[in-house]
C-alpha cells in the first residue's frame, strides 16, 4: 500500500517537475513592444521599427525609477526579407525577448503602402498568437514608420499611447480620422464590396528634434505627430488621401461620427453658427433598378447650438428651422464632395458594394469583380439629411442681440 502511494506521489511530483515552466517569462526578461512600424528599404528588405517601453522611465517616482532622465521608450530597427526574419533578427541587438501582446499600434510607412501594399505584411500579425489583431493601424503620411515611432510625445509618455489616444479622441470630437483595428483592415481587404481606410499620421516640424528628450521640456514641442487624413487603400495598396472636410464626409458615410462641429454662415456673416453634433445615425441602402445599382444615404443628426457669433434669435422657431436647413446643406456638401472624390479614386471605402450585396446577392455576383473600377465610380448616390437642433446650450438669445439693439 505504502509502495503504491509512494509511486503515485513520485509520478505526480515528476509530472510537475518534468514539464517545467516552459511558458514562464519573468517580467524583467520581456521587452514590451508598444508599437511596431514597418517600412521597406532600397534593397527591398522590410525594415521593422520597434518601440520598446523602458518601464523604469515611464513609471517615474518609484524606487530606482529615474523618470524623466532617460527616454521612456527605446526604438530599435531590424531588417529582413520577411517579417519573421526581421523580427527575430532584432534579438541580435536586444537584451530581452520582444513581447507583442501589448502592441497596440501598427504603423505602416507610406512608401511601403504605396508600392508593395499592406497585404503581405499582415499575415504574420494575424497568425501570431501573441500579437493582438485589435491593435490600431495607422499610415505614416509623407514619411516612414520609423519617423513616427521615433518621435517623443508630451503628456503621454509612451509615444504609442499618444498616437492611440489622439486618434481616439479626434475621432470622438472632430471626426476627420477614425481608429481602425488590424482585424477590421483585414476584413475590409478580403471583402470585395468594401475597401479599407486607414488614418494617417504626419510629422510636423523637425524630425531630428523629436527624438530628443530635452525638447519635451519646451512648452511648444518643436516637432509633433499629428493625425492627418484618411488613406484610401485599393487592392491592398495606398492610392490616395482624403483630407479635411472630404475625410469628414467619408466618416459621415461610414457612420463613425460621434461628435463634431458643423459651421454654417448666417446672412452675411461667415461661420456665424457652430452646430455641435451629439448623435447621428447614417443608413446606407442599395437599390437596383433596370440592372443598375444606386445608393441612398440617409443621415439623421441631432445636436446643439454650440456658438453664435451673430445676433440670431434662437427663440424663434423659424430661425431654428432655417439653421437646421443650413446644417443639412453643409453636411450634404461635405458628404457629396467626399463621395465624388472617392469615386475618382475608384476605391469603394464606403462599403456601397456590401450594401448592394445585401439587397441583391445574385446581381452582386456579376458585379463584384469589376465593382471598384466599373460600377462604383458611376454609382448614383441619393442623399437625404435630417438635422435637428435639440438645445441651445445655457442661452437661447445671444447677448449679441442686446448689443445690437443698443446701437
Amino acid at each position: 500500500m505504502s509502495r503504491r502511494l509512494f509511486l503515485l506521489f513520485f509520478i505526480m511530483i515528476s509530472a510537475v517537475l518534468l514539464s517545467g515552466c516552459w511558458s514562464q517569462r519573468e517580467l524583467t526578461n520581456l521587452a514590451i513592444v508598444s508599437a511596431l512600424g514597418i517600412d521597406k528599404n532600397e534593397k527591398g528588405e522590410y525594415v521593422g521599427t520597434f518601440q520598446i517601453v523602458n518601464p523604469g522611465y515611464v513609471a517615474g517616482g518609484l524606487q530606482g525609477g529615474a523618470g524623466g532622465q532617460s527616454a521612456p521608450v527605446t526604438v530599435r530597427k531590424s531588417t529582413g526579407d520577411n517579417m519573421m526574419e526581421m523580427s527575430r533578427r532584432l534579438s541580435t541587438h536586444l537584451s530581452r525577448k520582444q513581447y507583442f501582446a501589448h502592441t497596440n499600434l501598427l504603423v505602416i510607412g507610406e512608401d511601403l503602402a504605396k508600392e508593395e501594399g499592406i497585404l503581405t505584411i499582415l499575415d504574420v500579425l494575424d497568425r501570431d498568437p501573441e500579437f493582438r489583431t485589435t491593435a490600431s493601424v495607422v499610415i505614416a503620411q509623407n514619411g516612414t514608420a520609423e519617423d513616427v515611432l521615433k518621435a517623443l510625445s508630451p503628456i503621454d509618455k509612451i509615444p504609442a499611447n499618444y498616437v492611440l489616444k489622439t486618434m481616439k479622441y479626434t475621432e470622438e470630437r472632430w471626426g476627420e480620422n477614425i481608429d481602425v483595428a488590424l482585424h477590421e483592415v483585414i476584413t475590409d481587404l478580403i471583402s470585395p464590396g468594401k475597401e479599407p481606410v486607414i488614418t494617417g499620421f504626419r510629422f510636423t516640424g523637425d524630425g531630428e528634434q523629436a527624438e530628443k528628450l530635452e525638447k519635451l521640456q519646451n512648452t511648444t514641442p518643436e516637432a509633433l505627430l499629428q493625425a492627418d487624413g484618411l488613406a484610401i487603400i485599393k487592392d491592398g495598396k495606398l492610392t490616395g488621401w482624403l483630407d479635411g472636410e472630404t475625410a469628414k464626409g467619408a466618416v459621415w458615410v461610414l457612420d463613425k461620427i460621434q461628435n463634431t462641429a458643423i459651421i454654417v454662415n448666417w446672412k452675411e456673416k461667415k461661420a456665424a453658427i457652430a452646430y455641435e453634433v451629439i448623435r447621428q445615425q447614417t443608413n446606407v441602402s442599395a437599390h437596383i433598378k433596370n440592372n443598375t445599382p444606386s445608393i441612398s444615404i440617409h443621415i439623421r443628426a441631432e445636436g446643439d447650438i454650440g456658438e453664435v457669433t451673430a445676433p440670431v434669435d434662437l427663440t424663434d422657431e423659424q430661425t431654428l428651422l432655417k439653421i437646421e436647413k443650413k446644417v443639412e446643406q453643409e453636411i450634404k456638401k461635405q458628404v457629396d464632395n467626399s463621395i465624388r472624390h472617392v469615386q475618382k479614386e475608384k476605391a469603394d471605402i464606403f462599403g456601397f458594394g456590401e450594401a448592394v450585396h445585401r439587397s441583391d446577392p445574385a446581381a452582386w455576383k456579376k458585379w463584384k469583380h469589376e465593382w471598384n473600377d466599373l460600377y462604383f465610380p458611376e454609382l448614383q448616390v441619393n442623399m437625404t439629411v435630417d438635422a435637428f437642433v435639440r438645445r441651445s446650450g445655457l442661452r437661447n438669445k445671444s447677448y449679441l442681440s442686446e448689443v445690437e439693439n443698443n446701437h
Binding site: S19, G20, C21, S23, E26, L27, I32, Q63, A101, H102
Partner: protein, 535 residues
C-alpha cells in the same frame, strides 16, 4: 507492524490505586492517602474529634485550592462540631447514612465505595469524610476555588449579541448554554477521558432535534479514545475527526454560548471539555466557517452583504498571490498595458522571480504573525515597528521585493484574518502556498488544476458522515437559505436536513413574515377615524 513495538506497549495502568476496600482504622486510611498522593502538601487532612465517650475521630480530606473553603467550614466542620450527640450515633454501621442525612448540610453527598472512586472525587475537588472505626468513606461536593470569571471571548468577537464567552470551567460553560435554551430536552452526558488527567468531557444536544445516529456515533468515537491526557478540545477534535489527511477543520470550535446554542438548535452536538473555553461542534460543514453570529443578529440584507464579502475574502486569501504570480510570469497579456508597465518598472530592480519574491514576503509575514501571537506584551510594539519596516518600506527600498507584491501580500494577510473562523483561516493560508507553487509552475492552468483538486477534496470530506460541502454539494435547495445569501428569519422554515433529525425539521410556523398593521389607527389615535394625514 514490527513486533518490538508491541513489546513496548505499557501494561494496563489500573494498578495506580489499590482497589482493595478501606481499612477500619482512620490512621491507616489516612496513611494510604498520604502515600498515594506522595505527601503532597496541598492535600489537606483535617481531623476532628466528636463526642466524649467514646471519642470518635472524623477526618476531612480535601485538596487545597480546588475546593470551596467557605463551604467546608460552614457545612462540614461546623455541622459536625455542633452536633453534640454525634459520637453516640456514629458507633453504628450506618454512620455514613446518618452523616449524610442528618449532619452534613451540603448539597451533594455520596458514599465512596473504593479507593479509585475516592481519589477521583478527591482530585476533582470533593471533600472526603472518613470516620475512625468504620470502613467506608463519604464524599461531599465542595468543588470551588479560583476560576476565571466570564469575559468577552478572545477569538470570536461580535458587535451585536451576548458578549460573554466560555471559561475554563465545564460547569460554567454548560450552565451558560442552559441559560439560553431553557428546555428539559437539552440533554447532557458526561464522561471522563484521559487515563491520567481524568478530564471531564460532556456532550450536549437537544433531544429530538439532534440526529440519534450522529449522537450514537459521537458517543462511540469518544469512548474509543484511549489516551493519557486531554488538555484541550483540540485533542478531542483530532481524535474524533472523520478524515485526518486534510487541512480543513471538520469540527467547529466555538467560544461563545450563543454559537453553541444556535448550532444545537440546528441539530448539532456540542462537546465540552473541562479546562478550555473552546467547545467543539459537530457535524461541521464548510460554509459554517464563513458565518458569524452577527449574521443572524443583523437584518438579512446586511448579513447577505457580509457573507458575499466573506466569499470575496475567501477568494482573495486563497488566490491573490497565486493570481499575481501567474499573471506576471505567464499571462502578461492579461494585465492592462499601463498596469503592466507599472508592475514591470517595479520588478525591474528586483533580483528574484515573482514566485520567490512572493514566497519571501509570505514567509516573512507568517513569521511576523507567529511572533505577534507569542510575544510578551511589553515587546509587542517593537516587533510591530520592525515588522512594518521589514515587510514594507525597507524590503521595497532594498530592492528585495516590489511594492505591488507588498500590496498583494498585505491584502491577502488581512483577508485571511477576516475569515470568521481561525481554524479555517489558517488552513486556507496553508493551501495558499500550494496554489502559489501551482501558479509558478503552470500559470492559470495550474491554478485551475489546483482549484479542481481542492473542490474534489472538499467534496470528499465528511464530518460525522455529513458531506462537508452540504448544502452546496449535495445541493439541498431548502437549506441554501443560510449559505452565501442569508434569507430573513421568517423564511428559515427548516433545519439543515442532513444534520438535524428527520422527524423534527420544521423550526417555525407558517406565515412568519411580518407586515404593518392593517388598521393604522392602532398606532396613532389621531388617524383612527379615517386614513388621513391631516392632524
Amino acid at each position: 507492524m514490527p513486533s518490538f513495538f508491541k513489546r513496548k506497549k505499557p501494561k494496563k495502568s489500573s494498578d495506580n490505586h489499590p482497589s482493595q476496600s478501606f481499612d477500619s482504622s482512620l490512621t491507616a486510611n489516612l496513611d494510604i492517602i498520604k502515600q498515594k498522593t506522595g505527601n503532597s502538601p496541598d492535600v489537606i487532612t483535617r481531623t476532628l474529634k466528636v463526642g466524649t465517650n467514646p471519642e470518635i475521630k472524623i477526618a476531612l480530606v480535601y485538596v487545597d485550592g480546588i475546593v470551596d473553603g467557605q463551604s467546608i467550614n460552614d457545612f462540614l466542620i461546623e455541622a459536625i462540631m455542633e452536633k453534640h450527640d454525634l459520637g453516640d450515633l456514629l458507633i453504628q454501621q450506618e454512620a455514613f447514612e446518618i452523616m449524610a442525612e442528618g449532619v452534613v448540610t451540603i448539597g451533594s453527598v455520596k458514599p465512596v465505595r473504593d479507593w479509585d472512586e475516592l481519589f477521583s472525587s478527591l482530585m476533582s475537588g470533593e471533600t472526603i469524610v472518613l470516620i475512625d472505626g468504620i470502613n467506608g468513606a463519604l464524599s461531599a461536593d465542595t468543588k470551588g476555588g479560583e476560576q476565571r470569571s466570564i469575559q468577552e471571548p478572545s477569538t470570536q468577537m461580535s458587535i451585536l449579541g451576548p458578549q460573554g464567552g466560555f471559561t475554563e470551567s465545564i460547569g460554567t460553560n454548560t450552565a451558560m448554554v442552559r441559560r439560553i435554551i431553557k428546555n428539559p430536552n437539552l440533554w447532557v452526558e458526561t464522561m471522563k477521558i484521559g487515563k491520567v488527567t481524568n478530564t471531564d468531557v460532556a456532550i450536549m444536544y437537544v433531544n429530538g432535534i439532534a440526529n440519534d445516529k450522529i449522537i450514537e456515533e459521537m458517543r462511540k468515537r469518544l469512548k474509543r479514545i484511549d489516551t493519557d491526557s486531554i488538555l484541550e478540545s483540540g485533542y478531542i477534535e483530532q481524535l474524533i475527526q472523520d478524515q485526518t489527511a486534510t487541512t480543513f477543520p471538520t469540527t467547529y470550535q466555538a467560544e461563545r454560548p450563543d454559537i453553541v446554542a444556535g448550532n444545537l438548535l440546528e441539530g448539532r452536538i456540542a462537546v465540552f471539555v473541562d479546562g478550555t473555553p473552546f467547545v467543539l461542534l459537530a457535524p461541521a460543514v464548510f460554509i459554517q466557517f464563513f458565518q458569524s453570529v452577527d449574521d443572524y443578529y443583523t437584518r438579512f440584507d446586511i448579513a447577505t452583504f457580509l457573507r458575499l464579502l466573506r466569499t470575496l475574502i475567501l477568494i482573495i486569501s486563497l488566490f491573490a498571490p497565486a493570481l499575481y504570480i501567474a499573471a506576471t510570469t505567464f499571462h502578461q497579456e492579461m494585465i492592462p498595458t499601463q498596469l503592466l508597465i507599472v508592475i514591470a518598472a517595479q520588478r525591474e530592480i528586483v533580483p528574484f522571480p515573482a514566485f520567490v519574491e512572493a514566497l519571501i514576503m509570505e514567509v516573512t509575514f507568517e513569521i511576523l504573525r507567529e511572533a505577534g501571537v507569542r510575544l510578551p506584551k511589553a515587546v509587542g510594539s517593537a516587533v510591530s515597528i520592525v515588522g512594518a519596516l521589514v515587510i514594507g518600506q525597507a524590503a521595497v527600498q532594498a530592492g528585495i521585493v516590489s511594492p505591488a507584491m507588498v500590496i498583494i501580500v498585505a491584502i491577502t494577510a488581512i483577508a485571511s484574518f477576516a475569515t470568521p473562523a481561525f481554524s479555517m483561516g489558517i488552513s486556507i493560508r496553508l493551501i495558499r502556498f500550494g496554489f502559489m507553487t501551482a501558479a509558478a509552475t503552470f500559470g492559470f492552468y495550474g491554478i485551475v488544476l489546483g482549484g479542481i483538486m481542492l473542490v474534489v477534496h472538499l467534496c470528499s470530506l465528511r464530518s460525522f458522515g455529513v458531506p462537508y460541502m452540504s448544502p452546496l454539494a449535495p445541493l439541498i435547495p431548502a437549506n441554501m437559505k443560510d449559505t452565501v445569501v442569508r434569507y430573513p428569519w421568517w423564511a428559515f422554515k427548516e433545519r439543515p436536513r442532513l444534520i438535524a433529525s428527520d422527524e423534527n425539521l420544521i423550526r417555525q410556523g407558517e406565515d412568519q413574515q411580518p407586515a404593518p398593521p392593517s388598521d393604522r389607527g392602532m398606532v396613532n389615535s389621531r388617524t383612527e377615524k379615517g386614513d388621513r394625514n391631516e392632524p
